[in-house]
Amino acid sequence: MKILSPAVSAHEVEAVIAAGAGEIYCGVMPDAWRKAYTNVASPNRREWEVSNMTDFEALADAVNRAHDKGVPVFLTLNALYTEAQYPELRHFVEKADACGVDALIIADLGLLLLARDMGWKRDLHISTGGTAFNTETVDFYRNLGAARVIIPRQNRLSEIAHIAQHAGDTEIETFILNRGCKNIDGFCTFHHGVNEVRIPLWWRLPKKLHWDYYLLNWMKRLPAPVRDRIAHSPIFGSVGACFLSYDIDVASDDAPESKRETVHTNLRRNFNLFTGLDTCGACGLWDMLRAGVDSLKIVGRSNPLDKKVKDVAFLAACMERAANMDDKAEFVNFAKRCYRKTYGFPCDKWCYFPEEDSQIEWDAL
């Protein structure tokens, strides 16, 4: 099982490999693409400059540095594309090939078919946007030439284990750290990056300097009521795509007022910029290792390098223990202690693989 880390430069590639990353993924958004389609239609679902390289020379440099250390690099091309974009996509695939990229990460069936028809010789990975919730879907993509399938981040541990055990020689990758969006990536059509188009200066510079990350990291340590007020303020309440701080109206023909209030309160905590911020699935490592999961994906191409390095080091420490501990409960305790020591706060209520779901008999639906 390998740790798959994001990186946006050759320098970052070297740093995360030194921390223990066994695989790297990157995105490229050339200026010409941005000019034609805007950041909202990013070629790889991450809209910020800080999440992407801007040319293929930078990618080639990153690939060379990674290959020097024997580490593969994957290019994320996991947006959904319309017919007019295909000439440019062809160019992307050719450039990726010339750079020596080891795999393309793809969500759109059209691009998968294109890469296959172009004679792409290296691997094809199905993005979480491919919505492979079951073994039949993995089979569908395998038949189309996929070497790896990334399981949606809403599948539970038992479901991931089931898929991994029935995947044959298809590699299985799961999410493990950071932004655990509540929506299903491949079925979500909210637009990211609208604010950058509306008020570019206000957004681009802070993003470039990672102020958003540091600010959120500081704010999450505030007392909950203060944090809640900030999250629902006019400025911070407009941040993000799918978790605007909405005014929520709850109506019901038969539920009493008290129940409606409960629903209102609990929905409110699901719609704000802290939603799923620091999601972690490290406690599931022990099971994933034994289930035959091949790769663990760290989310966060836009995170600052110190965060990326910290994430990889944390997971490397957990993986080493997971491999050597016979007792799962003992490992879980270690993972929680290690999380607190690494990040300076305890893991929150945003677990990728919540224990309470493991109590549910999924086969019974």
Binding site: A36, Y37, T131, H191, S238, Y246, D249, A251, N266, N270
Partner: protein
């Protein structure tokens, strides 16, 4: 389109075909008996029948397979399966290649998010055209889907308008377009909050009890949260449906 038998049986207006089932939640797949009753009701009224199926886990796909297999034993004329999971499509193509398949709106990608309207006047021409189109209309993808037995695609009535100049015949859903969906059901977590905010939890059919509206100054239209899915309403249909090769309108009298 109906997800509940009672709503279908109460429908008095005209239609040519009924969609019955659920697209967004495998817990709401109708029972075999409900499907049988729905088919009988449609036959009585002279309506054709489409079974609409959701995205599914490995446990869920077994249920879908069982329902479809039972349905095919006494398939009504004009039967169609609306598929929202590539695993279901894979299985149908392999096991039941003669079944008529429509590719559901979860698999026909449109940029449905209403916030695009906040920047519509700032978008370059290429971008505007991109946001009005679906990936599924790429010619080579249409050819592949045809090979897989797909005969129709399902589209939403998006606010920025639809552009199509090729592709297979399409259905258009109205008045509700979906924006996003989840397995971490927001309404379930609303009434019976889980300890962990990413739990799937135990369903108590909260979606049947509440009508939730989400409004925000940055969101051009209100969103309706129905169970695990968010929708917006758009009653304004495109002017020339034939030019868009839209040959069917799918009316949703209730939120799905």
């Amino acid at each position: 389109m109906f997800s509940r038998l009672g709503e279908l049986q109460a429908w008095e207006d005209k239609c040519d075909r009924v969609y019955f089932g659920h697209e967004f939640c495998q817990r709401l797949i109708p029972s075999g008996e409900s499907i049988r009753q729905a088919i009988d009701h449609c036959a009585e009224k002279g309506w054709q029948f489409s079974l609409i199926t959701p995205f599914v886990t490995s446990a869920g796909i077994a249920v879908v397979q069982e329902r479809i297999a039972a349905l095919l034993e006494h398939a009504p004329d004009g039967l169609e399966i609306v598929v929202n999971d590539f695993g279901v499509l894979n299985w149908l193509h392999r096991e039941h290649p003669s079944v008529t398949i429509a590719l559901g709106r979860l698999l026909t990608k449109q940029k449905r998010g209403p916030r695009i309207m906040r920047i519509a006047d700032r978008l370059p021409r290429n971008a505007r055209a991109h946001f009005q189109r679906s990936n599924i209309d790429a010619a080579h993808l249409t050819a592949f889907l045809t090979e897989m037995g797909v005969q129709r695609i399902e589209l939403d009535n998006i606010l920025q308008g639809i552009q199509r100049d090729s592709g297979m015949q399409a259905s258009l859903y109205y008045p509700y377009a979906y924006v996003s969906t989840t397995r971490l059901c927001l309404l379930m977590n609303g009434e019976h909050p889980n300890k962990n905010l990413r739990s799937i939890g135990t369903c108590h059919r909260e979606c049947r009890r509440y009508d939730v509206t989400l409004t925000h100054a940055d969101m051009p239209v209100p969103l309706k949260l129905h169970g695990n899915t968010q929708f917006f309403r758009n009653d304004k249909l495109p002017k020339d449906l034939a030019a868009l090769n839209i040959t069917r309108l799918v009316y949703e009298p209730h939120l799905p």
